[in-house]
């Protein structure tokens, strides 16, 4: 199972999907486009503690994390 983790006021919301299921994969890709379209940043783990920002949907990613756009405090 793969997971898309979206940061929110509850801590996070997790969307799990089977990457071998074409319909689930399509929904996950749609969610990716929707969130990044809203300004969320998407990131994946490349190694323990190492993170990479991703610009397009990666169907092989085990976990993709989304956080809202940054603003000055």
């Amino acid at each position: 199972m793969a997971t898309q983790i979206v940061m929110d006021h509850t801590g996070d919301t997790r969307h799990c999907f089977n990457p071998d299921d074409p319909q689930a994969l399509a929904r996950a890709e749609e969610r990716f486009k929707q969130l990044t379209g809203l300004g969320f940043t998407a990131a994946v783990r490349t190694a323990p503690g190492e993170v990479a920002k991703v610009q397009s949907f990666d169907p092989t990613a085990e976990e993709t994390l989304f956080f809202p756009r940054l603003v000055g405090g």
């Binding site: 983790i5 940061m7 929110d8 006021h9 509850t10 801590g11 996070d12 300004g39 940043t41 990131a43 783990r45 323990p48 503690g49 190492e50 993170v51 990479a52 920002k53 994390l65 956080f67 809202p68 756009r69 940054l70 603003v71 000055g72 405090g73």
Partner: protein, 138 residues
């Protein structure tokens, strides 16, 4: 006759406060499933082993900016700014105020700050408001 004075070193008030805060944080972390604890679990999951060790011990962790290779320190238990650029001795040089938009828990905010500085430092710095530091408290 020589008098020997044994000087007992007590931890500073600040160290005691930090220890108490960390103890409280970890009791909460292991006992509850609140939004705050979920945020902290997510943060710990995504930290490098060294960052996790530093965070567990000190309540902050250091990151290296992907563009400038400057060092930044991200704190858990202080009022904003909670991100500081630090020099080679670990002294704070500049406070940086930036966070993800919306009502997020502390762990999530810290993780977003880490990822931003490690993967897109320029964007993070462009969003940040800078707070000058007059002295080095640590």
């Amino acid at each position: 006759m020589t008098l020997m004075f044994r000087v007992r070193r007590f931890p500073t008030a600040e160290a005691r406060l930090r220890f108490n805060a960390l103890s409280k944080l970890y009791r909460k972390f292991f006992a509850e499933n609140t939004s705050e604890t979920r945020g902290l679990r997510l943060l710990r999951d995504w930290l490098s082993p060294d960052q996790r060790k530093q965070f567990d011990k000190l309540g902050y962790f250091d990151v290296v900016g992907c563009n400038s290779r400057r060092h930044y320190r991200i704190y858990h238990n202080v009022r904003p700014p909670n991100v500081y650029e630090i020099d080679s001795t670990g002294c704070r040089k500049m406070g940086l105020c930036f966070a993800p938009l919306g009502q997020l828990v502390k762990g999530d905010i810290m993780l977003a700050q880490k990822i931003a500085l490690e993967t897109d430092e320029r964007t993070a710095l462009a969003a940040a408001n800078r707070v000058p530091i007059n002295r080095c408290p640590y």
